[in-house]
């Protein structure tokens, strides 16, 4: 009964709502134009720095020459991508990117959460804020300085790590020239740099949990440990999921400047990632079109990752980014 009739009845209604939606948008613009003006700089920034450069992406499919310009260089289809996937350097960079991102996520994602949970258990206020400041601090220090500290700390001659090892009679290890040490050092460094700052989001989420939930649990007989597992973590789960989606989306964006600062030719084997590969090919070797192809590939994969993570989150929990 509903089928055909309902459809007929719906048609004029749809037209009506579409027209009124246009009207509504115009009304909104008229009424809140100040707000839209406030939004404008961000939109301009996005267009100028993120959308306009996309025009240049076409060189990934062209035999680009600086002299002919972007528009006049001849199309060559997927040739660069074919070269890319048959190039040992790119495949190695891809493997490294995946490995480093994966381990950064697996090890790095829980650390700020654990930090936040631990801060939350500290009762002494002054001790708590001191501890927080100490872990936030590396975030505000330039990566160059962080890398400098790391390089110094791991230096074979005077570094604190090797000095400490020598107390146990262990010979100095040339950490930063050894491929097998690069990933642990890199992942450790980025965690040290960012985990404290990232924990702020979780602390805010924890602060949003109603205190009566804990009081009620105390009367019910829950220990602090049980409250953490049965109240705090489930209550901040939506935040956790959102952060995880963002992390997965940014997964391939391994902190590129930190890699540049820490790696050296002897560790390329485990350290060279897609972004550093693009950097070397594009800026150092002048193969702009080839580098653009690599960058585009990276972006497409990242895009798929964000969409994928979001739809999984949407399906299995009630939270998602959009």
């Amino acid at each position: 009964m509903n089928g055909a009739d309902g459809h007929k009845a719906d048609t004029p209604k749809v037209a009506y709502t579409q027209r009124s939606r246009m009207n509504r948008i115009v009304d909104h613009l008229k009424r809140d134009w100040q707000l839209y003006v406030l939004l404008l700089p961000t939109i301009i920034w996005l267009v100028v720095f993120l959308y306009k450069p996309m025009y240049g992406l076409q060189i990934a499919f062209k035999d680009y020459s600086i002299f002919k310009g972007v528009a006049n260089s001849p199309w060559i289809g997927f040739e660069h991508f074919e070269t890319l996937f048959s190039s040992e350097g790119f495949m190695r960079a891809l493997r490294n990117t995946i490995a480093i991102s994966f381990w950064s996520l697996v090890i790095g994602f829980p650390v700020p959460i654990i930090l936040a949970l631990m801060f939350n258990e500290i009762l002494n206020r002054r001790y708590k804020s001191t501890a927080q400041t100490i872990v936030y601090l590396p975030h505000f220090i330039s990566s160059v300085i962080i890398a400098g500290i790391v390089i110094t700390a791991f230096s074979p001659s005077a570094g604190i790590v090797n000095t400490a090892l020598s107390w146990f009679g262990i010979d100095p290890i040339y950490f930063l020239t050894r491929p097998d040490w690069f990933r642990p050092i890199f992942i450790g460094t980025t965690i040290w740099q960012e985990a404290g700052f990232q924990s702020i989001v979780y602390l805010a989420a924890i602060a949003g949990v109603s205190p009566t939930l804990y009081e009620s649990a105390v009367v019910d007989g829950a220990s602090r440990w049980q409250m953490m597992w049965k109240i705090t973590i489930p209550c901040i789960l939506p935040t956790l999921i959102i952060m995880l989606i963002i992390r997965i989306g940014n997964m391939l964006e391994v902190s590129f400047e930190m890699i540049i600062l820490l790696y050296q030719p002897s560790t390329y084997e485990t350290a060279d990632v897609v972004n550093t590969f693009i950097y070397r090919q594009g800026l150092q070797n002048g193969q702009y079109d080839f580098a653009a192809a690599a960058g585009l590939f990276n972006a497409v994969v990242a895009f798929v990752l964000v969409i994928g993570a979001n739809s999984i989150a949407k399906r299995y929990s009630r939270t998602s980014l959009w």
Partner: protein, 367 residues
């Protein structure tokens, strides 16, 4: 014997004392309501019983055992909070089961208890829902379920109904009363709603400013308040308070008002207070209207008649003080407009010292 006993219980936050020595003995199976204005220390007192606030002084015993230093979980009390404190990520069944799971009861036992409680509270159809998908009244019921499923010695309620609308509140009030009859668990209930207090309580504790003003059954407090505060707090609309001087009548002491005279009970305390300035308290429902000035009545000017249906509220003034009379309407509507004064039975007139507010009239009426 699972009574609760508070002996000179004190609570201080640093130098600020907010509860100044509370003495209260709650009998086993008794339903005691703490009532008082906002900020008088009701919640603080209740939370000290629950163990959520440290007791600064005095002694708390539950079931004959001193509890001052006992952890909340070992006090065997359950508390229902104003905002329900339901776990948003757990469904109704798991919310109710939370306390039992924490205590590591067996699975079968938990399931059986949850089913039973859900049956009692009419939640059987909602066991799989999340709190966000429940109505206010249902959430309230889940909160109660979580308390009763543990079969504690004592229930503590902190304004459990104040987030509900008026109709639902009346309904839940009756349900709590029924539940208490059925389970017979010692209960302490905090509210600032005097109607809730009157309807639910076996005994009411009226608190003010961190102290107990009076303890008694609802009718004791209603008929024989020990002071003007208690008198004004219980009853709606509140008791009328007007200034008067005690005088000597022909057969009994009288209260002299600006607009007349009322006979008072023949109590020695009143007889000895001739000439004293007092505050006279007359409940709106105990004032009787008169349409002709007589000797034993007080003249008043009618401002407004509020008709409630079977009853009406007459807003009048005596001298320049407001005076409300509650009266039946049946067959009386035409006389209401021509009210010229009121009178009251001597034993229903309360007399308070004008300065201290203490009742001079003593117990004039058996509750």
């Amino acid at each position: 014997m699972s009574g609760v006993k508070l002996e000179s219980i004190v609570k201080a936050y640093g130098a600020l004392q907010v509860v100044h020595g509370i003495d209260l003995e709650v009998e086993e199976k008794e339903f005691v309501v703490l009532v008082g204005p906002s900020g008088c220390g009701k919640s603080t007192t209740l939370r000290m019983v629950a163990g959520l606030e440290e007791i600064s002084g005095g002694e708390l015993t539950i079931d004959g055992r001193v509890m001052n230093r006992v952890a909340p979980k070992d006090r065997d009390v359950a508390m229902v909070f104003q905002n329900y404190a339901l776990y948003p990520h757990l469904d109704v069944a798991n919310n109710i089961a939370f306390g039992l799971k924490i205590r590591k009861n067996s699975k079968e036992e938990i399931a059986a208890s949850v089913d039973e409680v859900a049956g009692i509270l009419g939640l059987t159809d909602y066991l799989e829902r999340k709190p966000s998908d429940l109505s206010g009244g249902q959430r309230q019921r889940v909160a109660m379920g979580r308390a009763i499923v543990r079969r504690p010695k004592v229930f503590l309620f902190d304004e459990p109904l104040s987030n509900l609308d008026a109709k639902l509140r009346t309904q839940m009030r009756a349900e709590i009363k029924r539940l208490h009859k059925r389970l017979g668990v010692t209960s302490i209930y905090v509210t600032h709603d005097q109607v809730e207090a009157m309807t639910l309580a076996d005994r009411i504790v009226v608190m003010n400013d961190g102290r107990i003003e009076q303890i008694g059954t609802p009718m004791e407090l209603f008929l024989n308040p020990v002071n003007a505060f208690v008198a004004g707090f219980l009853g709606a609309p509140p008791m009328n308070m007007i200034e008067a001087t005690i005088g000597e009548g022909d057969t009994s002491p009288v209260a002299n008002f600006a607009g007349g005279q009322l006979a008072l009970s023949k109590l020695s305390e009143l007889q000895n207070s001739v000439g004293r300035k007092v505050t006279v308290g007359i409940r709106p429902e105990y004032a009787q209207i008169v349409t002709e000035a007589t000797l034993g009545s007080v003249a008043c000017d009618l401002d407004l008649v509020e008709t409630l249906g079977s009853e009406a509220l007459l807003h009048t003034t005596v001298g320049d003080e407001p005076f409300v009379i509650r009266t039946e309407t049946l067959d009386k509507m035409d006389t209401l407009e021509s009210v010229t004064g009121f009178t009251a039975q001597p034993d229903l007139i309360k007399v308070f010292d004008a300065k201290t507010g203490l009742a001079l009239s003593g117990q004039t009426r058996e509750a």
